[in-house]
């Protein structure tokens, strides 16, 4: 056991994986000698050599394509995309190829590639360093989609993802790299040092894909969140002193529907939350499924807490970010719905 931030936890995961399995390789822009712009791959090239950890040209489509070829050849590539905002040049290789190879070849060929990328805002990155594109992958069958909210899960999920026979899009909320963040930019930053999930085993362990975690039990309302919004939700319900259940999805595809449904059937009220834009975002899927499955238990319409349907503006980052205020408004609506107003 050691205290780690999320960067160290991811680094530890890659160390562990590479020690155990010679077929694991790490590739991406600036990941080699430099160790990555967020330092997630620090020390890997020194330890495992250039044959297994190397810088790539700035060509995200080429990175994913080459990783696919390597995976078809029996390797287990971990490809880093420097920012999730820059994954779109690789979108065709992900959607048309990575997600389809098993299917279209009747299961004969597979490409178990993990594509890691930092996502989300809160670091003054402006509209091209802040995006959360998970819905754009969730809608594409054939890839799995993961987003940890803490160091422990980050390591366990990354190990599970690399060991997974299916390709995985691994999204890392960069605002959480150095500490949990409850959505209040005015508070001094906190580190993972005192957080229970900053306690990370040294060796090999997995957090299985497709299992959500109930991070806070409660019976008055359910908040379904992932990534940064888990911390915002916890802070908001604490502040409100309500008996809320908070669920951290961790895995977006496959989705742990059972855990969510069970909770909402219990509470009868639900808020779904993410940082990504709202329209046709993952919150819509969660809300739609929940109302299909829990309709007769619902005491109020499910509310979505999300980023606005605009790009992520630099100067208005905190007005964009779905922070505690937005969360509290939604929780209040759900706890005390007004049939006149909301319909």
């Amino acid at each position: 056991m050691a205290r780690m931030n999320m960067i160290q936890a991811l680094n530890s995961a890659m160390h562990t994986l590479m020690e155990h399995d010679p077929s694991v390789v790490v590739m991406g822009e600036d990941v080699g000698y430099f160790g990555g712009v967020f330092r997630c791959t620090e020390g890997l090239q020194k330890r495992f050599g250039e044959n297994r950890v190397f810088d790539t040209p700035i060509a995200e489509g080429g990175i994913v394509a080459a990783a696919i070829g390597m995976a078809v050849n029996g390797l287990r590539p971990i490809a880093e995309i420097q920012f999730a905002d820059y994954v779109y040049p690789a979108y065709d290789q992900i959607v048309s190829e990575l997600a389809r190879i098993r299917y279209r070849s009747g299961g004969e060929f597979t490409a178990p590639v993990v594509v890691r990328m930092p996502c989300g805002g809160g670091i003054r990155g402006g509209q091209t360093h802040s995006q959360s594109p998970e819905a754009l992958f969730a809608h594409v069958c054939g890839v799995k989609v993961v987003m940890p909210s803490n160091p422990y899960d980050a390591k366990g999920l990354l190990i599970a993802s690399v060991e997974e026979p299916d390709p995985v899009i691994f999204l890392e909320p960069k605002r959480l790299y150095n500490g949990p963040f409850d959505g209040d930019p005015h508070k001094p930053a906190v580190t993972w040092n005192t957080h229970p999930k900053g306690e990370v085993p040294d060796g090999h362990y997995r957090v299985p894909l497709g299992t959500a975690e109930v991070v806070r039990e409660g019976s008055a309302v359910t908040v379904v969140a992932y990534g940064t919004l888990v911390h915002v939700a916890l802070a908001a319900v604490t502040q409100m002193q309500i008996d809320a259940e908070v669920i951290d999805l961790r895995s977006i595809m496959p989705l742990d529907t059972a855990t969510i449904l069970q909770s909402v059937k219990k509470t009868g009220r639900c808020v779904v939350a993410h940082e990504a834009t709202r329209f046709a975002g993952l919150g819509a899927e969660l809300s739609a499924t929940l109302q299909e499955e829990c309709f007769w238990h619902l005491q109020a319409p499910i509310q979505r807490v999300t980023g606005w349907d605009t790009p992520y503006p630099l100067a208005f980052e905190w007005e964009y970010f779905p922070g505690q205020k937005r969360m509290i408004t939604a929780l209040n609506k759900v706890l005390d719905p007004d049939p006149e107003v909301s319909s």
Partner: protein, 415 residues
């Protein structure tokens, strides 16, 4: 030359009604292009990208340093595979016309770019073809019945009914799954080759894509990565002059050749007569040898002509002269290899007729067997519920439920 910019749009030399004109295809005499050592530095052999490597001359003799000196048996084997490919193509086109399969794409006139190249490689080399190299499947011995079952989407379809006809694959024969999305396989092949290098294996990856598709980003990625990592790969660009209705000049622009695209990446680019079995074999062998020595990727432009329609959905008489193929200066690959063998005294018209008859019979039998596993319209049908398999390695909960829902729909149908 104009005084003002204006949009220049490249034109084919001839449209329907015009006289075919291939004067834009620059040719070198057979045997004329020197063969450098596979260890040559790329910069010293740039002229290979604009000349045309040819071995067979018009008198059916094999000339020059690129002559691979193949044994007659090897040549006959090449002829057999190409002949079988052509018969297979013709028969499958008929099957489509008769409504037995929904779609088909022929490789007629460009069989050598697959077969000769494939023969020059080792069975352990990995191939990433496009949809027009069926010759590779036949060469590597994927069963004709298996191929047909794919076309029929029947109970024995390797693709389990999921893919358009011709989108074959074979893991055991090291033939990668064909994608409907053009050119995506090209950088994948480079990645595969990088993987071989990482593992210290001496296998080579070879890939094929059309000249039209070379405009896609993936071909650029492939060259960038190949150049950086010296991947043991061969990138074949099949220049068959047409991309559906689009003339090769739209993708080729003002460029000297498609092979010349390689030079800026420090990769050798070789332009070869794609209808000359011996030349294609020799160039592929050269590139494979070079790759196996750790000297990286070669880009090969195979100059050929798409003699058939783009696909069964296409009608080329709408956009090119009907008699264009007759004017094509590089002839037909099967005819040329056949005449060469005859000139060598190793083959005869009679033997050739027998070969074609044999192919015909083989295809007929195979077709009967394939149809017995189901066709579009009758016979056994694969189970629709399998459509949920292989999206992931295990069926996730949401797909399990959708599968159940479909099962109910199907049950209602029966009821």
């Amino acid at each position: 030359m104009n005084n003002k910019p204006q949009l220049h749009v490249p034109h084919p030399p001839a449209r329907p009604g015009d006289t075919p004109d291939f004067s834009y295809v620059s040719l070198s005499p057979a045997g004329a292009v020197p063969r450098p050592s596979p260890k040559a530095r790329a910069r010293d052999i740039e002229s290979l990208s604009v000349e045309l490597v040819r071995v067979l001359d018009d008198g059916h003799r094999a000339l020059g340093a690129w002559n691979p000196d193949l044994a007659p048996d090897t040549l006959r084997e090449g002829l057999r595979v190409m002949a079988l490919t052509r018969v297979y193509d013709d028969r499958m086109l008929n099957a489509q016309r008769q409504g037995r399969i929904s779609f088909y794409m022929k490789s007629t006139g460009e069989e050598a770019v697959a077969v000769a190249a494939g023969m020059a490689l080792e069975p352990t080399d990995m191939l990433f073809p496009s949809y027009r190299q069926q010759g590779l499947y036949i060469l590597r011995g994927v069963g004709t019945v298996d191929l047909m079952c794919q076309l029929l989407s029947n109970t024995r379809d390797m693709c389990k009914g999921r893919q358009l006809p011709v989108m074959y694959h074979s893991a055991v024969k090291r033939l990668f799954s064909i994608s409907g999305n053009l050119a995506t396989q090209v950088p994948q092949a480079v990645g595969w080759a990088m993987g071989a290098a990482i593992k210290g294996e001496s296998s080579v990856a070879a890939t094929w894509t059309g000249e039209g598709s070379s405009a896609e980003a993936d071909v650029h990625y492939a060259m960038v990565f190949a150049s950086a990592y010296r991947a043991p790969a061969i990138l074949n660009i099949v220049n068959n002059q047409w991309a559906i209705s689009t003339f090769q000049g739209i993708a080729g622009g003002e460029g000297p050749s498609f092979a010349a695209r390689a030079l800026g990446f420090g990769l050798p680019g070789i332009r070869v007569d794609g209808n000359d079995f011996l030349a294609v074999y020799a160039v592929t062998r050269w590139a494979a040898e070079r790759a196996r020595m750790g000297l990286g990727t070669t880009v090969v432009e195979l100059v050929t002509y798409r003699a058939a329609a783009h696909s069964t959905s296409d009608d080329p008489s709408r956009y090119r002269p009907k008699d264009e193929q007759a004017a094509w200066p590089l002839g037909d690959p099967i005819e040329r290899l056949k005449q060469h063998l005859i000139a060598l005294g190793e083959w005869s018209e009679e033997q050739h007729q027998a070969l074609v008859a044999e192919c015909d019979e083989h295809v007929t039998k195979a077709w009967e067997e394939a149809c017995s596993y189901g066709t579009l319209n009758d016979g056994p049908r694969p189970d629709p519920l399998t459509m949920f398999d292989d999206v992931y390695h295990e069926l996730p909960e949401h797909l399990r439920r959708q599968r159940e829902q479909l099962a109910e729909e199907l049950a209602k149908e029966k009821a």
